[in-house]
Symmetry: C2
Subunit: 418 residues, 2 copies
């Protein structure tokens, strides 16, 4: 087999471990010197690559930098949200493969979520069409955990650990006063509740807060919510409720849009709608209905980019996923995504790695099973706990300097990339 | 000296280390068995104590619980915001001292901020008036770092470490795309900018983000802010600006009120004003003015209650402050607050503990020196870095169980305290 170069890119939203996967790809690439020449990285995904931006990662990153990269959150190479056209006849495919040829690429790796798998699918189909031998492999990544054909996705475990530990602290914080209060915590997840459900892990004992958990898998109603809050306020001093950003009513209207619609009259001061989350809407609702102290807490970007609270299990699996991607490519596989399969027979948590058809993965969505959600749609069951608990084990220990983590960052090397 | 009992309470907002101080008070109390009998804790501060709620901490907390308490954020005993009347003739003082007598209290410790020091001041003055021998000692605590006569306050270092490390991660997160963007991070601090200033520590190199930092010590203007954003957008792809929640214009109007005033027309849907922070207001302003992608991030309660990101230095100092409080009380001191004084001669950071007149501390406010803030009011200088850096050193390591911290919580022991 002639020696070929490889190229890797990152795409979609940041996570705490997308760089761990990058590190895995690079390390495995560099350790196969007989088969792989250069290890290139696209800067800002295929969008930047099409504009000519890439770098020689083997040259740029030494052993020490790679170890730092492994524990650095967000996307070292930069990311993009570039969707390839549906028609494989589009000229962008030709341009892209011309660039592959120029760089003598034999292996292409793309780390990302659903849209990135769509990219891998299209490029591998185009390659088949023109008879190119380049192998295209997807490495999964998303805090949303919504990819099918895999037990879970790298990035989810760290985000879940962030949510579980942070909600536990928010519960302690919200409980210090003796006055009645309601705290509403908003967690990421537009269409699926995997991450919000992780708030159940925050409970220190069975009846502990968060007392209420709402996922987008079930229709949300203000009336039902009011009944839940009323019941909980009668039985405890502080009520903590966790909600997915994407909760919607039975008509399919997002709760976060309630405010925008209702407030739109007064919002032309700056010419823009108020951009608010559902927790703010619910905060106002509860304050108005119950007259108690209410606070809303939007966990915001930290849940996806906290390297300090990342799960060690997640980091290790993410790196291994990157390595396995290279192994599959060297094995001649193309149009595949690295996937996780949990050993069911075993008592302890054990993971197997496999390659699944990327064409089957992209543009699909895995939701939380309805049977894992309580009848009333306001809690999560033991099945979820058993599923999620192994994924949040172990603490990452990023190298510290001056009291805070010393993350790796890419020196700005392109004028357009300031 | 006859053996007396002691009592300790917590008051004001939660911090990551108020329990470390509590732990210090208890440990020092228990280690002076010849002078101190019972170690009582008020549940929900003096408010709960007046209602008869207290517990025997020596009985409740063993060695293992104390170590867990030390690393648990928020207020184990519960807190209150109860302000004693100005007139010492008020009957509440008599009631309180009657309860002290019932419990044979000789030493009273109150862990809190400005208002709590006001409580210590009043109780000690009342004691002097009636000739009571009870010693009243304040243990400082506030993430705001706004108490005078002390180099800094326990709680600040952990909050500053949270802000510095989290902003560093938010900067990485905000930089992944190649599109121009502005991110506005809102940090706690109504009147002083100590905590917001800690965002300067997030910079990985000199010209790194956060590019702009605004403290309430300087008047804020939308025009100046727009000029700053325009200049920064011209020189970099992503601009991260950190603002104190309490920034106000030269008229003294809070920026967070801009929205409320201007939006008030459309906000009667639920009968309440929109409760929004200044970062949301600025997000809309920037989006409207510059048309770039904008995101606002409110760090919210985690900055004051993150036990996972607490500074070890802060925890150690907070515990020592608690211990010193007991030592001062046993030394007969009353009407004092434990204070920190930094050794100026020494190259290394070294702290000395002292007792200062609590009457001088309460109802005063220490702001960030104007000379530490840039002329343009949009950055923080080296003086601040030198001041704050020693305070964020070292990582706390709370005991883990199932992947997340196993914090200590008070079993609910009062019917009114569910």
């Amino acid at each position: 087999m002639p020696k070929k170069n490889m190229i890797v890119g990152q795409s979609g939203g940041p996570t705490a471990v997308i760089n761990a996967s990058l590190c895995g790809v690079i390390r495995e690439g560099l350790s196969n010197k007989d088969k792989i020449g250069k290890v290139y990285g696209m800067v800002h995904g295929i969008e930047g690559f099409l504009e000519g931006r890439y770098m020689d990662l083997g040259e740029e990153l030494g052993r020490e930098e790679l170890e730092k990269l492994r524990l650095t959150p967000a996307a070292y190479l930069g990311s993009c949200r570039y969707k390839l056209p549906e028609e494989l006849s589009s000229e962008v495919y030709g341009q892209m493969f011309e660039k592959f040829e120029e760089l003598d690429i034999g292996y292409f790796f793309y780390i990302g979520g659903n849209d990135s798998m769509d990219t891998v699918s299209k490029l591998s189909r185009y390659a088949a069409e023109i008879g190119s031998a380049i192998c295209f492999v997807g490495i999964p990544k998303t805090i949303d955990n919504d990819l099918i054909l895999t037990d879970h996705t790298p990035g989810f475990g760290s985000a879940a650990r962030y949510v579980a530990s942070t909600v536990r602290e928010v519960v302690l914080d919200s409980s210090v006063y003796q006055q009645k209060s309601v705290t509403i915590v908003e967690v990421m997840g537009r269409h699926t509740g995997w991450l919000t459900a992780a708030s159940v892990l925050a409970r220190k004992y069975e009846a502990d807060n968060p007392a209420l958990i709402y996922l987008p898998e079930r229709a949300f109603s203000l009336d039902g919510f009011a009944r839940d809050i009323e019941r909980e306020l009668a039985r405890r001093r502080c009520v903590v409720a966790c909600v997915s950003e994407g909760i919607a009513d039975s008509e399919g209207t997002f709760i976060c849009e309630y405010g925008e619609k209702e407030l739109s009259a007064g919002l032309d001061t700056f010419g823009h709608k108020m951009l608010t989350g559902c927790s703010k809407i619910l905060e106002r609702f509860v304050k108005s209905r119950f007259g108690v102290k209410v606070r809303s807490v939007e966990l915001n970007v930290s849940q996806r980019c906290s390297g300090m609270l990342a799960s060690l299990t997640d980091i290790q699996e993410a790196e291994k996923a990157g390595r396995m991607g290279v192994i599959y490519a060297l094995d001649g596989k193309s149009g595949v995504m690295v996937a996780f399969s949990r050993k069911q027979q075993s008592d302890a948590y054990e993971l197997e790695y496999c390659a699944v058809d990327v064409n089957k993965v992209c543009n699909q969505e895995k939701t939380v099973p309805l049977s894992w959600i309580s009848q009333a749609g306001n809690d999560v069951g033991e099945e979820y706990v058993a599923y999620a608990l192994p994924l949040i084990q172990g603490a990452a220990a990023p190298p510290m300097k001056n009291g805070i983590p010393e993350y790796l960052y890419r020196k700005q090397i392109f004028p357009s990339d300031v």
